[in-house]
């Protein structure tokens, strides 16, 4: 882990590469003859402590693949990444313990209550009972879940359910939270719950890595962003460095047309 300008490097991706072989069915859907698809192609970047880092890219750019490699769900073909200094290739279990992973769609079983799920995932991360109880009290109060603690997730509003999956993903007090498409498919109210939550997490001193294709989300939340197109990092830096005088959207299309020409 290195310190740059007083910033602590929390996540470092080094030349990540991932190629998938494409099934015949997928070839038909994507109208391609290629049997292999390079989803992520030599991606490197760093995210720093206490910041929100956004991976911005169009559909199929390789965002989900990158975040899955960072959260040890899949293995890179080449390169490596480090979360809190632990290699995702060699120390997967350590990485999992200091990281919370979330995707935009609800990923909790509706059958259970927030209280139960919190305890369950606490146990999955090996959090001891006393710590877990204290943390539950703190987080449930802070995010207004305590009144719903015993209501089954399926019976809650989408916003509340989303909040619960967010809280559950940080049950083990991870340093880093990795979040794939946090507001995908959510209405404005629920999306606001999520963005508020992320800002709150940042205020708690957590580092956040998120992916999105929504410019405004990056502008609203992120300190730093990387633009990914076709599995490559095209531009990266703090928002000011990245955009200069342009809006993020203008900048993105400037870059995009630079690479792809005027075809859209």
């Amino acid at each position: 882990m290195s310190d740059i300008n007083g910033l602590k490097e929390i996540v470092r991706a080094e030349n990540l590469k991932k190629t998938f072989s494409i099934s015949r069915k997928q070839r038909r859907i994507e109208k391609t003859d290629l049997t292999r698809k390079v989803a992520v192609n030599g991606l490197s970047f760093s995210a720093y402590g206490g910041e929100i880092y956004g991976l911005l890219g169009p559909n199929g750019a390789g965002k989900t693949t990158t975040l899955r490699m960072l959260s040890t769900l899949i293995k890179p073909d080449e390169g490596d990444a480090f979360v809190m200094g632990h290699s995702v290739c060699k120390e997967a279990a350590r990485v999992r313990d200091c990281m919370g992973f979330m995707t935009g769609e609800l990923k909790l079983e509706g059958f259970f209550t927030p209280d139960y799920l919190f305890d369950f995932f606490g146990a999955m991360h090996g959090v001891d009972k006393a710590t877990l109880a204290a943390r539950k009290k703190e987080l449930f109060t802070r995010f207004g879940i305590d009144r719903f603690a015993e209501v089954r997730v399926a019976d809650l509003s989408t916003g509340m359910a989303q909040k619960i999956s967010l809280v559950v993903s940080i049950v083990h007090d991870p340093e880093v939270v990795i979040f794939d498409e946090p507001t995908n498919g959510l209405d404005v109210l629920t999306a606001k719950v999520v963005t508020d939550f992320l800002l709150e997490l940042k205020a708690m001193g957590k580092s956040i890595l998120l992916s999105t294709h929504i410019f405004s989300l990056v502008e609203k939340l992120c300190d730093r962003a990387g633009i990914i197109i076709d599995g490559r990092m095209i531009a990266e830096g703090t928002l000011e460095d990245l955009c200069g005088d342009l809006s993020l959207e203008e900048k993105f299309f400037e870059i995009y047309h630079g690479i792809k020409g005027d075809v859209l």
């Binding site: 099934s23 769900l73 999992r96 990923k107 909790l108 259970f112």
Partner: protein, 375 residues
């Protein structure tokens, strides 16, 4: 500790959902009702009047009571002279006579002092169940005379009528099917459902060992599905006598405790095997729909297999190494009146081993990104 939490979660989900419990317990009730009704129908068509031929040795007043009772039910009875005991037993076994009744010496005088009645009868029903019905009748007469002497029944299970034979031979298939559906109802949702909904991914992103995840699913699912299997077992245990038109106690005596235990073992041995088979298929599938399509194919295969076993005789003991097939094979032997202790234990043990191998396979699958995250 993580394994315990994983297991608790499965149990919690199940035992807080009354509908799931119902779907599990239904099969047993279904077998019971089906076989009881079938039994009633079959036995209703039997003539209510018999002409009993019974060998009699020894003397008692009970004989005349018995004779009157028989006549009272509209049947007739003919007592035959016994020249030698062997000959009489032989005749009963061959079905030439319905029963052989032996009162011990000085029977009436020693009511309280060790008097016994031996009854040999055929529980064959090629001759329309006369042996059994005579035994049932004699038994009830003897019992109303007081149980101060002991009744020793000896039955010969001989050929059966076609109807019963069919019922018996489809029984293992029914059992397999019901256990399969019990396992399916709990496993598909729990494994394929979690994969489809992505909740499995949430667990995979924690530092839990993959083998714990696999075991944390399979063990509780086995326990839960065992309830279903136990219900099927009870359904069979209570409906078989009805199907044969005899009382439960007579049935229990003729099969015996060991057979029941073996039947129970061979049914229970199927549970972990089928649960882990369905789990494997589910872990492989992308959605519950896909998983249930695959599983249905497996189920049909299994039904065909168990049906074949029923109609092919002389399957060698090697069959015991074939998963699922082995339990069916053992079940048949037991229902045919055998008590294949070693075979049953071997089938049970082997099925456990196969299940363990499948659990290993599933933990490998959980680590495989192609299977968990493939498109």
């Amino acid at each position: 500790m993580k394994l315990a939490a994983l297991m608790r979660k499965e149990f919690h989900r199940f035992f807080h959902d009354p509908r799931l419990i119902m779907t599990l317990l239904m099969p047993g009730l279904f077998i019971f009702l089906l076989y009881s009704v079938l039994g009633e129908v079959i036995h209703e068509t039997e003539p209510a009047k018999y002409d009993y031929k019974v060998y009699l040795s020894g003397q008692s007043q009970i004989v005349s009571i018995l004779e009157n009772t028989v006549i009272g039910t509209g049947s007739s009875i003919e007592f035959l002279e016994v020249s030698s005991s062997e000959e009489a037993i032989d005749a009963v076994e061959k079905g030439e006579a319905n029963a052989y009744l032996i009162f011990s010496e000085n029977f009436d005088a020693s009511f309280d002092a060790g008097a016994t009645v031996d009854i040999y009868y055929t529980s064959s029903d090629v001759d329309e169940g006369t042996g059994e019905s005579f035994y049932a009748l004699a038994n009830s007469v003897l019992q109303t005379c007081g149980m101060r002497f002991s009744i020793v029944p000896h039955s010969f299970l001989t050929q059966e009528s076609l109807g019963k034979m069919i019922m018996k031979s489809v029984l293992p298939m029914l059992v397999v099917t019901f256990i399969f559906s019990a396992c399916m109802s709990v496993t598909l949702e729990s494994v394929a459902g979690e994969k489809e909904r992505g909740t499995l991914t949430t667990i995979l992103a924690t530092s839990v060992r993959r083998s714990d995840i696999a075991l944390g699913k399979i063990l509780p699912l086995c326990c839960i599905a065992s309830l279903g299997a136990a219900s099927s077992f009870l359904g069979i245990a209570f409906s078989l006598p009805k199907m044969m038109g005899i009382s439960f106690s007579v049935f229990f005596q003729s099969y015996g405790f060991v057979s029941y235990l073996l039947l129970f073992l061979s049914i229970m041995g199927l549970v972990p095997l089928i649960v882990s088979m369905i789990s494997t298929v589910s872990a492989f599938s992308r959605s519950v729909k896909e998983a249930s399509a695959f599983t249905s194919v497996v189920m049909i295969l299994m039904m065909v297999l168990s049906l074949i076993t029923s109609f092919v005789s002389n399957v060698g003991d090697w069959a015991v190494v074939v998963p699922v097939f082995n339990s069916v094979f053992v079940m048949e032997e037991i229902l045919a009146g055998g008590a294949p202790v070693l075979l049953t234990l071997a089938a049970f043990g082997l099925n456990l081993v196969y299940s363990a191998l499948l659990v290993l396979l599933i933990s490998r699958m959980l680590s495989s990104e192609k299977i968990m995250f493939g498109k």
